[in-house]
């Protein structure tokens, strides 16, 4: 019982968007689908939904091609957010649920439940254009789940949310997972993915470059994370200039350094001491998901892929 992406290839003219992509998502799990912009994440989701047709390969749910299954099997939160601006929140939630085959009364009851859950019950009768972007995003999330889909596909669900709403959405993910739903989401927020995902896939240029549980990815990673504190320096920016350091993140009392594969932690310590720094904290930590991502893709997740911006949309 799983969502399987099996050898899926998709080409837009001269651009190869997906190149025999394969991975599987176990049922009832929260799955992170990671990749830089233009890596093929949106195309994969659209193929799962049947919006796009694969040139080769197939997406399957429980052994059946996803294009053969009823639309209500899936819920979709697209990266491009949008609602009918002049329609009230409750009307459009009921509208979308009805398109998925939900009876209007049940949809209305369920919509009110989720609006309460997301702390926006008073917005039910407001027009979408009157809502903040964060609240519009919550409404769109509700629209994606109201019909009770088995699989929830979400493209960048956390973008633009404040910490409170981020927490509400994460809680909702866990609640849905506990109710047996399978959740697949893409994100550039590695901390969120690390905190939520039980399994992950990292794609680059339409190909799977790493996949498995978070533990498996960390065990097999050659990336190293070093935590280094320097006496008298809160933000030692010069650390980024040390050979083999891929990324630098300030933390409380120390700085976290992502090392490139092949770079040994002791080399970094030596370089710091050679510079005359008074090192008061040195720790070799498990590689972060960010480090694993950089190890496989060669750059941070929020750095644009070389192909054109609209390659996923190009016909």
């Amino acid at each position: 019982m799983s969502l399987e992406i099996d050898g899926v290839t998709k080409r837009y003219g001269a651009t190869l968007a997906l190149d025999g992509l394969s991975f599987s998502v176990p049922r009832g799990r929260i799955f992170g689908f990671l990749g830089a912009n233009g890596a093929g994440k949106t195309t994969t989701m659209r193929i799962c939904l049947g919006i796009l047709r694969a040139d080769a390969g197939q997406a399957r749910w429980n052994g059946a091609a996803t294009t053969d299954l009823p639309r209500r099997t899936f819920g979709y939160l697209p990266e491009e957010r949008g609602l009918y601006p002049r329609m009230t929140v409750i009307d459009q939630l009921v509208y979308f649920a009805r398109l998925y085959g939900e009876p209007a009364d049940a949809a209305r009851r369920n919509a009110h439940h989720w609006l309460d859950r997301f702390r926006i019950p008073d917005y039910a009768d407001r027009r979408a254009e009157e809502l903040s972007k964060g609240n519009q995003q919550k409404v769109q999330f509700i629209a994606a789940i109201l019909h009770g889909p088995d699989v929830l596909l979400m493209d960048e669900p956390f973008t633009g949310l404040d910490p409170v709403n981020l927490s509400l959405l994460r809680d909702a993910f866990v609640e849905l997972r506990d109710a047996g739903r399978t959740i697949v989401f893409s994100t550039h927020q590695m901390e969120a993915a690390e905190a939520l995902c039980e399994s992950l896939a990292i794609v680059d240029h339409g190909r799977l470059v790493a996949g498995g549980t978070l533990g498996e990815l960390k065990r097999t990673s050659r990336a190293r994370t070093v935590r280094l504190g320097v006496e008298g320096e809160i933000l030692p920016t010069w650390l980024a200039g040390i050979d083999g350091v891929a990324a630098v993140r300030p933390a409380a009392g120390f700085t976290e350094l992502e090392l490139r594969p092949g770079t040994e932690p002791r080399d970094v310590l030596s370089a710091a001491l050679a510079r005359g720094a008074l090192v008061n904290h040195f720790e070799v930590a498990e590689p972060s998901l960010e480090a694993i991502f950089i190890e496989h893709v060669g750059r941070p997740s929020d750095v644009e892929d070389p192909p054109p911006i609209d390659q996923e949309h190009a016909a």
């Binding site: 009918y84 398109l99 949309h313």
Partner: protein, 439 residues
Amino acid sequence: MARHDPLLPNAAIVARREYVDRVRSKLYRISTLVLMALAVGVALTPIALRYFDRARVDEIGVITADDDLAAATVATANGIMNIPPPGADPKEWTPPYAIGRLLDRELAVSDLAAGRLDAIIEVGRLADGTLQVTYRTNGPADGVKAQLAGFTALSVAILDWTSSLPPGSQLGTFRTPAFNTESLVGPVENGQAVDAVQVASRGFLGTVFIILMFITILIYGMWVATGVAAEKSSRVMELMISAASPRQLLVGKVIGIGGAGLTQYLAIALPVVLVLAFQDQIARAILGAGGAGLPTGGLTLGLLAAYGLFFLLGFALFALIYAAVGSFVSRPDDLQTLSLPLSLVAMAGYLCALVVLLGSAGTFARLTSLVPPLSPFSMLARLMVSTVQPWEVALSIGVLVATIGLVAAATIRIYATGVLLYGQRPGIRAFIAAAWRAH
């Protein structure tokens, strides 16, 4: 096995949303009321003009040095210009022209210039004895009045010529002959040729109908295109396309927006049709017996039904193409440019219909009334002013329906591809490619 996406209920759900969204908007309600008032106003214009003109009597002076010629001209002009309309009570009817002889030419010309006189008919004789009649007005001459003056001149000339008959010959009073026109291809109602007055009336109505059809198809077609483009630019399309199939969305949108357009159209047309249908009665009530005979006779239920049918089919055809156009633009602003060729096609249909209304009944009329997208305009025009065989009407409808089916199939493919395209300037090659290949 492919996903089963039946048209219903989703197309109906989409159609309902589209319909309610438009009909509930303030702009829609206000524009409907304004257009309704305007349309009724236009329909009542002929009556209003005649109402304001009802008490007006044109003063026309006859100037000639010859007493006999003066008497003959006054009598003939009265006989021709002051004919009571059918059914008018001669006792209550006021002749629209007061015609009399004026002896002082200079005074008459100065009265004409000052507006105290409406026209002068000046009759003289050339050296060879030929009569010379001049109809003089202060400003451009009214076409109908000038024509009546021309008839008067001709009649006076006939009287003048017959005055040279041998002594003792008797001639009765000159009577205006009955005058009719007939056409071999004119419209037939219940097996009888429709009379010339009604043919002229149908020509007028046909022009009104064709203009209405042209304008409404363009306006409501653009509603469809902007509706699709707005969904795309607001990104709500991303949600829609995963919840319903392109076919369900497209059909629902065309029906919903078409329904809103049709509602507005009916709200405007129904009072107008009522005014036109009862125009004679309204005119009689306001103007008396002389008010009948306005230019909207010949309006039948059959013609109204034909208009409704060809409007719906024409709208369906154009709306589908407009939806495809709307799906290809990323911003509603780009629609103006992209929809221009479609407007030109509609304009071609409109012009063909006008040619037919002006009397073309040959191969051109037959051909254009069978070939979509010209046929809704052209066939309606033919039905208004000429005889059309039932098989021709059936063939025209059949070809139109088949074309709508083919266009719908291509449009669904274009739409499915177009709604996912962002940031590209669409061209004709992109349309053709989208129509031919699956997304």
